[in-house]
């Protein structure tokens, strides 16, 4: 039972991310259908869909940052007491990196542009943020499983 309680944080994170992704797809589908039904010019419709996609991706990313920070706090409470300093350090550094990234995105780009800009040239920023959320959640789950195995 205790294991279930301990893993609840990262599992809830994964669930919320999955639901947010499906909500994102659903909203984009509805918006796309709305524009097609109203006969909106395809280029304009696509541009607005990109804007919405960027906004949603940033919102779900921020949600995952909050979940990550909360899970880091939970880790400091439930993991072995003798490792508490390193656990707090890991949580603080990784949370700081995420908050800095969110601040950088907010200050450097217009969040509506995230669906069409590709800072690395490979993929748009909204897609990058989605994959980052997947990695964040899997990392947190692995972190908790490791913590459990040490306790």
């Amino acid at each position: 039972m205790e294991v279930i309680h301990i893993l609840a944080g990262p599992v809830v994170g994964i669930l919320i991310t999955s639901l947010a992704f499906s909500d994102d797809l659903f909203i984009k589908y509805r918006v796309h259908a709305f524009f097609r039904q109203r006969g909106v010019a395809p280029a304009l419709a696509e541009a607005i869909e990109d804007m919405i996609s960027g906004g949603i991706a940033f919102a779900t990313f921020l949600g995952n940052v909050y979940i990550f920070i909360i899970n880091s706090l939970i880790a400091a409470i439930v993991f072995p007491r003798h490792d508490v300093e390193i656990i707090i350090l890991i949580g603080e550094i990784s949370s700081l990196v995420l908050v800095l990234q969110a601040s950088f995105i907010y200050s450097e780009y217009d969040i509506w542009d995230l669906g069409e800009i590709c800072p690395t040239g490979a993929t748009t920023y909204d897609v990058f943020l989605r994959w980052e959320q997947v990695v964040l959640n899997l990392t947190m789950l692995a972190y908790f499983i490791l913590g459990l195995s040490l306790s």
Binding site: A41, A43, L44, E46, A47, D50, D110, D113, E116, I117, C118, P119, G121, T124
Partner: protein, 134 residues
Amino acid sequence: MQTRQSKPSRFNVDIWVDRQGQDVTSLTLGEASLNYHIRVRSIRKPSKQVDLKSVALIVAPAAAALVQFSHVTPLEWICSVSTSVTQPGASNVGVVVDPTASGSSNLQALELVISDPFGVTTETVQLDLPLTVA
């Protein structure tokens, strides 16, 4: 080559003058085989239509621009390019150098007009290409 980034849309603009493929800033009197180049790079995936205005400035004490565009309006050239993250937009125009007066000259890119499905927006670039004519 001179580079400047527009704000807030983040188009990178490069301007330079070349002589047979060589980037140059020192020009000779009456030289004609020169080209003024612009290149607009973007971090955006969708292709954007961008108009860039360049002007030939008169630098004192000269009474006229020593370097001008080979264009119907020698002191101003507006080019239109499409640019995306995978395909920078590029264009060029010939330039002519005054055959008699030497001194400093300046070609300047100063205005970026971006056309997208939402309409047209204008951003300032203010990019100088100082040249010397001897």
